[in-house]
Symmetry: D3
Subunit: 137 residues, 6 copies
């Protein structure tokens, strides 16, 4: 399996609900350094996993929707906790949509798996990985 | 699959036996930066992989048993070489026990896989990963 | 000159005021990975720059005052922008106070300089460094 | 599964062909920091994944063939693009050959999987992973 | 002294002349991860060292002039060796010019020192630091 | 000022004496990732701070004297605590001697300052920096 990874980041505010979170129930924030790893079993005709320029632009569009904002205000997240692992899945789903919509180029439709990792500090990070729709074609 | 990782470290002395180790047969030491990645296919009701506070405490309890000691003195390791890969498995087994014993909370029983990585320097590291008992329920 | 550095982190929410900040005027947040470097020209009688345990505890006390909170609510910061460079100075001043108060041990009174660095992402960080009161004795 | 990883690097010039590469069609270069992760389900009799000295030497021999050279001049790569993902596979294949040839020791024949990662910058990297011939015995 | 640092990178080809360089006399290449640290003794009225957006744009303009090119073709470098330390000075001088030209904003004219670091691999890096013209006003 | 830095590492055992060290009075160990930064105000005729090959070899010779050993057995350290900051000075002094002895080449005699940093973990490191004898010529 071949993989290509790109990195960006987002700086957000949020709060959690539930006793398990203790003081993290208060409004606070995080820098998420975001890595997306795109995977496929064979390279395309240009010897690429994916066009790195389009992949980076797509990631910037996704982090751009969240950076410098308060995740507590995002309607789609109402009733959920925007934990690092939850946000990894959010980025995964949005990137999967971008691939299906062709925003990473036609070649990206050969991608079969993806993993998204969010680093919240030098001692904690979380990820979500799964197969891509194209893999089930 | 969702993953959450936490990091700690331990500073130990040890020696190896066997010609393959060359000068590492002498008493020497290492700082092991220890990462534990906990995995499960779905988040719990709080949108968590595992309670990060309990996970960090459990890791500190494990590294605390070894840090600032000489692994050559540990009875359980008699006759073995405490290589980085061997110690990755030791941390894995102890954390798996902590999960079964409930020390990472009830929710942690939903964890299905785990990976432990020990960094011994900027140019070498080792890991052990496997399924957790709960995964076989 | 000898230096010893320790690392911790804090996760905060805040907003900025002033047109120069553009979208960062909105409520958002950051993880600050915080490094403090203590300096002195000669080691103490134990061959130390400072007691690393006391230094780490003092840093945790300082980050503990801010982590998991909204800096916009801190009275002492009213009318200021809690930029990364501003917060580096805040940590510097608090650690200097801790040294003077003896919370890093008697030996710490031999420290002459200090530098505090806050990493806000993988591509941006800020610091404040200066002499310590003891240096002017 | 146990894994052991070692790191080295190579500094190369190259150019790409194909419109998708835009300005990267020009002659340019890269530092590739190269990680090789060796994997096996059980440790050998010395509690090792592989002899780390032999593994490091084998990696240095491979990076040594490419470092300080222009990949456009390598006959074996004629007609291909020496992208980061392509070069990850090249290193993988050469290391697999070294294992089969016994250059990592007899014990290395117990290795079943391998992953090679090439970091091209702080924001992009690529890898190739696969099973080793021995795994199919 | 306050400092703010930003990071970018450039991927270049080049060769060296002089026996001291050994095999590095051949055409090869490097990824330079480039950090610029801006320094001043007091913050501006917005509690900033410098506008981080303008600073990042100015750095991207400088790396953009060199990335994906062959430094052997740059007329200004004829007769010089484009070593990592030499290139650190080149970036320093260009950034100093950008500051004087006002491209980092009026506030940037309060900057008194600057340091530029270029990382060529995980085991080697070089820097150039000096005072800025404004500091001599 | 120009600087060039190189990195290596050493893996040692040791123990400390003095109540301030608490459990670190027991035999334990550390991996020290060692960075040496060489500085000079002007580049030499080859546009270098120092011959990076000779500098790396000299550093490997120094770390080679300590790695895979027990520092408690080194006669020269009898009665001292081999703390991270103490060992930074040891490496500094040995490298300064190597420069004077000409082992980094004739050009290295133009070096005026040096800094040695030893990383003992992801959250602690120490350094010693000073002027070089040649600087006082």
């Amino acid at each position: 399996m071949y993989r290509l990874s790109v990195r960006d980041h987002m700086m957000i505010a949020h709060s959690f609900h539930g006793e398990v979170f203790g003081p993290a129930q208060r409004l606070h924030g995080a820098t998420y350094v975001v890595d997306v790893a795109f995977a496929r079993p064979v390279l395309d005709d240009d010897d690429l996993v994916v066009d790195i320029g389009l992949a980076s632009d797509a990631l910037k569009a996704i982090t751009g929707d969240f950076t410098l904002s308060n995740l507590d205000d995002v309607a789609a997240f109402r009733g959920r906790n925007t934990t690092t692992e939850f946000m990894a899945r959010v980025v995964f789903d949005r990137m999967a949509d971008a691939i299906v919509a062709g925003r990473l180029g036609e070649g990206a439709k050969g991608l079969t798996e993806m993993a998204v990792t969010l680093y919240e500090s030098h001692i904690a990070w979380a990820s979500y990985e799964g197969r891509l729709p194209a893999a089930n074609g």
